[in-house]
């Protein structure tokens, strides 16, 4: 169905469904979307919340992105880690972030973590699990620090320490042996780093670097690539080719405009009323 209007309506567009289902019936399987196999964690400590995530994005068996960002911005003091279908986590968190800003402007109050949690769970339940986003939502608001997990079907849990994703078991093992209430910042950050590292090294769907985020009542600190335990070694050889190696049949060079200057012409443009 093509739209006559210039403005496209918000929300999902289902116009390809008939065609895609037909192709599927003919025996052509739907291609795999990018998944963040993932290890994501969150834990409450004395002054607030520490969130952690790995940085690998997979497309089936292949690593599509070696350094993606899985800790998404919701508001200044609220962040959300996302596991599952990468496009879903990206767009769902962006939508709720936008709605949280509007809500803040309308209510005149500092945003609360439960508000974001409710918006997320109600949306995910509405789509009955088809939006594959498994989230760890954490932040500090006027009522204190809060940490939630949200599953793709819309269920939520409120806990002092959580893990999600394919590496959640490896990370939870670290948490269960190391977590204590009222840890200080360094203890909490080291625990989170160890939990993510457990996921990176033991789970095939997680890998590359550790991202962390420390949220307190007064500040939020994004620690992008706080640990990089998988840096590639320097290549021993240079693989540049001799210029002229590749044979080509046709060449076309298009020069682009790099500078434009406007010269105003004086006279000649005025209306002549003589």
């Amino acid at each position: 169905m093509s739209k006559a209007s210039v403005y496209s309506s918000p929300g999902f567009d289902f116009s390809n469904l008939v065609r895609n289902n037909f192709l599927h019936e003919k025996g052509l399987p739907l291609p795999k979307a990018t998944s963040t196999g993932t290890t994501i964690v969150g834990c409450v400590y004395k002054d607030g919340i520490v969130l952690g995530a790995d940085t690998r994005a997979t497309e089936g068996d292949i690593v599509a992105d070696k350094n993606c960002e899985k800790i998404h911005y919701i508001t200044e003091s609220i962040r959300c880690c996302g596991a599952g279908t990468a496009a879903d986590t990206e767009f769902t968190t962006a939508l709720i972030s936008s709605n949280m800003e509007l809500h803040t402007l309308q209510s005149g109050r500092k945003p609360r973590v439960v508000t974001a949690m409710t918006m997320l769970k109600q949306m995910l339940f509405r789509y009955q699990g088809h939006v594959g986003a498994a989230l760890v939502l954490g932040g500090v608001d006027a009522t204190g620090p809060h940490l939630f997990t949200i599953h793709p079907h819309g269920s939520t849990d409120k806990l002092p320490y959580v893990t999600m994703g394919s590496g959640s078991l490896a990370a939870m093992a670290v948490f269960e042996s190391g977590w204590q209430p009222n840890m200080d910042r360094d203890q909490a950050l080291n625990l989170v780093k160890a939990a993510i590292a457990a996921g990176i090294f033991n789970d095939l769907g997680s890998g590359s670097n550790v991202d962390a985020c420390v949220i307190t009542a007064s500040s939020t600190e994004m620690l992008r690539n706080v640990e990089m335990p998988n840096v590639r070694v320097q290549k021993e050889r240079d693989y540049k080719f001799r210029r002229g190696t590749t044979a080509w049949k046709k060449e076309e060079v298009r020069s682009l405009i790099t500078e434009e200057s406007v010269t105003l012409l004086t006279g000649g443009d005025e209306m002549d009323t003589s």
Partner: protein, 208 residues
């Protein structure tokens, strides 16, 4: 066989020193039967942005027209040319709108973007078929030969290649990767984009 393999085709984009390059093969097939060795799947969006659309050929045509429409509307409303990062998000949104009935394309974008200080910066990005963006610093690949392209590019790419060296590296990556893929090949085209010109070359490759 997956829908993405029906027509075949692959695209790669690489970052160099103040330049980017995007390359694609030219094969259009109907499963095993090759139909055209002159199928264009890389299109200019603006003077400095190119988009490659590997996947189902009819969606290549549809998406090309959809993006052309949306970029034109953007240019009219904003009164200026679209920047590469913005275009990448435009592609991502367009694909995510069709989350539950996707287009069978995995777009690859390459361009030169302007920094706030006025200097230029090379830019590449790719998305999966539902719009998950991947902003890589080195190279992005998509299509039936993507696994081979990953392997060869991982071996041959190095940072800060000059335009002529980047051309050689991306060409050799493309030619050798598609030679190991039955559904890609039948010629290749490379565009090297610098801040003041675009060099387009049609490569001589194996036609089997």
């Amino acid at each position: 066989m997956s829908i993405m393999d029906h027509n075949g085709g692959s695209v790669i984009a690489m970052v160099g020193k103040d330049c980017v390059a995007i390359a694609a093969d030219m094969r259009l097939g109907n499963q095993a039967l090759g139909i055209s060795s002159n199928f264009q799947r890389v299109f200019p969006v603006t003077d400095r942005i190119f988009v490659g659309l590997p996947g189902l050929a009819s969606d290549v045509a549809t998406l090309h027209e959809r993006f052309r429409y949306r970029v034109n509307m953007y240019t009219i409303k904003e009164g200026r040319e679209i920047e590469p990062e913005t275009f990448a998000h435009l592609v991502s949104s367009t694909l995510y709108e069709h989350r539950f009935g996707p287009y069978f394309i995995e777009p690859v974008m390459a361009g030169i973007s302007k920094t706030p200080t006025g200097k230029t910066k090379p830019f590449i990005a790719a998305t999966d078929l539902i719009g998950c963006l991947n902003f890589a610093k080195d190279f992005v690949v998509a299509g039936t030969a993507s696994t081979k392209l990953y392997g060869v590019a991982e071996g041959l790419w190095e940072p800060d290649l000059e335009p002529e060296d980047l051309f050689e590296t991306i060409s050799q990556t493309m030619l050798n990767a598609v030679d190991r893929d039955a559904f890609s090949g039948w010629g290749a085209v490379v565009h090297v984009i610098t801040k003041d010109k675009v060099i387009t070359r049609a490569l001589k490759g194996r036609m089997d």
